[in-house]
């Protein structure tokens, strides 16, 4: 036979340095480029290789945001799209979608889906609003918010239990939940025409009202920005330095510097846009809306939970290979139940923000729970979360939410008259399909699409 | 005893049997029953085929039910429970007038459930059936408008059904060829169709209620028309006669070829049951249910539903396409290796789902008479009802198991619940709550029933 006795076809005997990587090129494309690059140039090359291999991260959504911004700027009457007042409005609107998308992300990471986030969000908002009513329960705002979040969390836990223990497909459970809570919403509100308000004149209620509508004094905004960027930058720098000290793979110094600079840049841009006076000459309206730091806190919390806790690690593991996770001792049911619970609780927060966004009024017309959930899923998927599980981050929800908010508001600015409402459905539908298409196609090469 | 100590030349201990003897019979006899779980296996064989007598059949059937393969039993029980509970709550529930109302309302759910079953059998889901139904309704209503296109009714119907099928083809292709998850594709489809519907209907109303225009009258009659009582009886006789003869002849032919055949008494009982049910339905419908004047006779829609049921049953049980649908739902890889074209079958499955939704749309348009944007909200809740009806009827959410008759029976249950709650004056929000709970219950039963049966996922 062709091999000489004692010699393997690929090298002299005893040589243990056989490269067993099945597909070396794909493997290279998957390593976080930050860790293998020794210089900025290497990093960019490795990153480009990764993008070509299908792991494009946030690149598509960032590109999409740019495209949308430019397109709408061109087509809106008077090129008003990028005016500060409109931009701030978009920020405010997007925060709801961002929070809902972050909620949906943890469930999507498990390769499940939660179709009830919209209805649960509204329930959360209504519960909080009802609890601060003055002739009424008159709870302190923080207690009302907490109660709403806990209620929503329990709802999520219940759905999670049905999914995890009884193995009913999550889309059925949450579809039923959607219907159930849409109905209960009307009942809690007190009828199809009822509504509940929070007013800015009552101090307790004003806090909730101000969540979206309230503004931070500009000076305080700049100070806060400096503090946040300073803290984040220092943390990044120290971490890289610590890794280097321990001899672990660390990103090149120039890369860390660029990252800090980028964060600072974005922060400065946002604060600047918000600080421009967008009111009239009689009334000054300026400052960063409170909701932006709120969303940043939620983003920070979710990123921490998903990337740096055991729970988050297990979520990714289950999304990637549930059987492997199970054999490693992970309790699939517990993680799933907690994930659904946290998803619903976060959705509840989103609902409270929604009410605040609509000037403190909650009625059956405030929002369509079906539309909310579709926007939430679309935002998450467009941002880069995969429907098949195991891939995605909280920041994806934030970016996707921004895009969705931009599209939704941009369309309304176009004065399309009759076309306006239909487009509100058609556009997100189309965008959702496009996003999923990209998700599926990008996974083709990696062999992680499980469908036959 | 000493056998256990005996070893063969290379150190292996024989199984407990004596040398030369297999554990259950003499050597050389390949009559070893290797069935993994004989009781479960017995429970899976269609009892009709192994029983030699009616008694054996009933025993085998009961064994099958106990092991989890309960077929249509749960839904039939559900129908009985619903009937009894609502009758107790409101004595008018089982009146002829109300029953016919119930049948009429259920037909839309039934047809939508049958549409959904095409997707469910493949192991997929179609969330757009409600909106495709709306599409069908809107297209057919708009096309016959005398002030507008003024098309003949048959052309309008054909185009409406074609439009719906086209939607199904698009969704099916995205699922089958691009491997996108079906719930996302049909969710996107739902959104887009909703926008289109709002666009077309705008703030206006399109109606088919005007009796001066023949086209509109035909469409109106789809739902509201009735057979003359005498005609109803004749049709029943023909139907039962044909079905009964068909069953009998098939059995005889199987017996002639030496294949397993159900006992004669069983076939006779089936024919009798069918006749009794048919007589009951026709009799109830023929009762005069008008306050003034005469309204009597079997509604056309019952016949329409039966036709859809028959066609889909033949398609699924007796054609290659249907066989492949079940195969893909059961084990797509096996189907692929056997040479089945997965993309083609899946795409056609979605086309059929949308086509059937279109038929539901014809019924719906005829029922509502005037269409405004309000129907969109209704249609969205219909998706859940369709899925619930299918699952309640016995179709599995996991694919590979179910029949369109399940949609009919499940649709009857859903219709009964709706009708009953409405009669009791329950508000629509609470009805939604109840339906959600029923859907959950049905899903739980589906999952649990799969636990007992062998070969579960």
């Amino acid at each position: 036979m062709t091999a000489d006795p004692g010699e393997t076809p690929t090298g002299p005997p005893g040589a243990g340095m056989v490269d067993l990587t099945a597909d070396p090129e794909a493997a290279a494309a998957d390593i976080p480029p930050a860790l293998v690059a020794q210089s900025l140039g290497q990093y960019l090359r490795a990153w480009w290789l990764r993008v070509r291999g299908g792991n494009s991260g946030v690149l598509p959504v960032v590109l999409a945001i740019v495209v949308v911004a430019i397109t709408f700027q061109i087509v809106t009457p008077e090129h008003a799209f990028l005016r500060p007042s409109n931009l701030v409005y978009i920020f405010g609107l997007s925060t709801v979608y961002m929070v809902l998308a972050m909620a949906e992300t943890v469930v999507l990471l498990l390769a499940e889906v939660d179709l009830s986030v919209g209805a649960v969000a509204l329930i959360g908002g209504v519960i909080a609003f009802k609890l601060v009513q003055q002739p009424g329960p008159d709870w302190p705002w923080w207690a009302a918010v907490l109660a709403a979040l806990v209620c929503c969390g329990l709802i999520g836990a219940l759905q999670g239990m049905l999914t995890a223990w009884l193995r009913i497909p999550s889309f059925v459970v949450t579809l039923a939940g959607f219907l159930l809570f849409s109905g209960i919403l009307i009942i809690v509100l007190g009828g199809a025409d009822a509504s509940v308000n929070v007013s800015s004149s009552v101090p307790n209620q004003r806090v909730i009202y101000d969540m979206v509508q309230g503004l931070i004094v500009p000076v305080a905004g700049w100070v806060a920005l400096a503090v946040v960027v300073g803290a984040a930058g220092t943390a990044l720098w120290l971490r890289a330095a610590a890794r280097r000290r321990q001899g672990l793979a660390a990103p090149p110094v120039s890369l860390t510097a660029i990252r800090i600079a980028l964060v600072a840049l974005v922060g400065v841009a946002v604060v600047m846009i918000c600080t421009v006076n967008r009111g009239t000459s009689l009334v000054t309206v300026e400052g960063v809306p409170w909701v932006i730091p709120i969303v940043l806190v939620v983003l920070g919390a979710w990123t921490l939970v998903l990337q740096r806790t055991r729970f988050g690690r297990y979520v990714y593991a289950i999304g990637g290979n549930p059987e492997a996770a199970r054999r490693a001792g992970v309790s699939l049911a517990a993680i799933r139940i907690w994930a659904f619970a946290l998803c619903s609780a976060t959705a509840g927060l989103g609902g409270i923000l929604l009410g605040s966004f609509f000037y403190g009024e909650y009625s059956t017309n405030t929002a369509d729970p079906g539309q909310l959930v579709l926007y939430a899923i679309a935002a998450a998927v467009i941002g880069g979360v995969s429907l098949f599980g195991g891939r995605g981050k909280a920041i994806h929800g934030v970016l996707g939410g921004l895009l969705i908010g931009g599209i939704a508001y941009g369309v309304s600015l176009l004065n399309l008259g009759e076309l306006a409402t239909p487009l509100e459905y058609i556009l997100p539908g189309g965008v959702l399909l496009a996003a999923v298409l990209v998700d599926v196609l990008s996974r083709r090469g990696t062999g992680s699409v499980t469908r036959v | 005893m000493s056998d256990h100590a005996r070893r063969t030349s290379d150190g292996e201990v024989p199984v407990t049997a004596d040398p030369g003897e297999t554990p259950t019979g003499p050597a050389g006899a390949s009559m070893v029953d290797l069935t993994a779980d004989p009781e479960a296996a017995a429970a899976d064989i269609p009892p009709a085929l192994v029983a030699q007598s009616l008694g054996q059949y009933l025993r085998a059937w009961w064994l099958r039910v106990r092991s989890g393969n309960s077929g249509v039993l749960p839904v039939v029980l559900a129908i009985v429970v619903v009937a009894i509970s609502f009758q107790i709550a409101n004595p008018k529930f089982l009146s002829a007038q109300n029953l016919v109302n119930l049948f009429e309302q259920s037909t839309v759910y039934m047809v939508l459930a049958m549409a959904e079953i095409f997707a469910l059998l493949l192991g997929e889901i179609d969330l757009s059936v409600g909106l495709v139904m709306v599409l069908g309704s809107v297209v057919v209503a708009e096309l016959v408008q005398p002030s507008g296109p003024d098309w003949p009714w048959w052309a309008a119907i054909i185009v409406a059904l074609l439009a719906c099928s086209a939607v199904g083809a698009i969704q099916g292709s995205l699922v089958a060829r691009l491997k996108m998850p079906s719930f996302i594709v049909t969710l996107g489809g739902l959104l887009i169709l909703e926008g289109v519907a709002i666009l077309v209907l705008g703030g206006t109303l399109v109606g088919i209620g005007n009796s001066r225009f023949t086209n509109e009258v035909v469409l109106y009659d789809i739902f509201w028309g009735r057979f003359d009582p005498v005609v109803g009886w004749i049709l029943l006789a023909v139907l039962v006669g044909a079905a009964g003869t068909g069953l009998w002849l098939r059995d005889a032919s199987r017996r002639r070829h030496g294949l397993e055949t159900p006992p004669r008494s069983l076939t006779a009982m089936k024919i009798v049951l069918m006749t009794v049910a048919g007589i009951a339905v026709v009799a109830i419908c023929n009762v005069n249910r008008a306050h003034f004047g005469t309204i009597e006779g079997v509604p056309y829609i019952i016949a329409i539903v039966l036709v859809v049921l028959a066609a889909s049953t033949v398609l699924l049980q007796r054609t290659r396409f249907g066989r492949y649908v079940y195969a893909i739902g059961g084990n797509p890889e096996a189907a692929r290796r056997a040479g089945v074209s997965l993309p083609a079958v899946r795409t056609w499955g979605f086309v059929l789902a949308s086509l059937t939704s279109g038929i539901a749309g014809l019924l719906f348009a005829s029922w509502q008479v005037s269409l405004t944007t309000n129907i969109i909200k209704t249609a969205n809740s219909y998706v859940l009802l369709a899925v619930a009806a299918a699952v309640i009827g016995g179709t599995s959410l996991f694919g590979g198991r179910g029949k369109t008759i399940h949609g009919v029976l499940g649709g009857l249950v859903i219709g009964g619940i709706y009708n009953g709650l409405y009669l009791l004056g329950v508000s629509s929000q609470w009805i939604d709550v109840v339906v959600a709970a029923v859907l959950l219950a049905a899903a739980i039963i589906d999952v649990l029933s799969r636990r007992g049966a062998p070969g579960q996922r």
């Binding site: 036979m1 | 069935t35 085929l49 294949l259 033949v314 054609t319 290796r337 062998p454 070969g455």
Partner: protein, 275 residues
Amino acid sequence: MTEMNEAPEGASRGGDGGEPLLKLRGIDKHFGPVQALYGVDLDLPAGQVTGLCGDNGAGKSVLTRCIAGVHPPDHGQIYFDGRPVHIRSARDAAALGIETVYQDLALADNLDIVQNMFLGREPLHHGLLDEDSMERQAAETLSTLRVTTVRSIRQPVASLSGGQRQAVAVAKAVMWNSKLVLLDEPTAALGVVQTQMVLNLIERLRDRGLAVMVISHNLNDIFEVADRIAVLYLGRMVAEGPAADFDRQRVVEYMTTGSSGMRPFEPAGSASDEG
């Protein structure tokens, strides 16, 4: 089980004069940068069972899939019945009479035995499925293979034991007038009694004059039924010949090192390797 010394009168069974039913010459197959098969030659004579051995990653499944039409080889020639052929799809293979029984059996659990056996090739009667003739044919095939342990051929496949499922898969292969049957790890998940049943089945296939190729890790099974043995090592065919020329130790050595230290392999007369 005993050592493979009692050569079945293998030389006379099927004989090795005359063309093998299937001949592979110089088969190469690569996936991207990875080469799975290097210049593989193989003979599969009719009326004989050829056991294909090799460690994990040696290329056994790849070779099987090339023959079965799942993916065509990149280079090399396949001869069937003496004629050169190109097998580009499962249908091509089926048309030639090549049937494959996969390791995971590829049976649809929700369908019954008859439906599975005819999956993809159902006969029609007036445009509808001809259930009666399918049932008769299936029953007949199962009984000629002496598979009598199944209670009813209308039993869903899900409730059958592993051995019975194998039997159904094999019967499916046989029913279609196949000439060559490939079995990938047929006894991998089976217990002792069921393994014996499947091995008996394989022998009945051989007795009917089919060419049979069995991939197996289990050398006991190989030595029990194989008339010929072929060993793959890291994508190359390192040994091929009548089973009588091998013993277990040699096969293991070929599987793990690509050669046998005892003596260079000299198949008795048949020049199966052209390098």
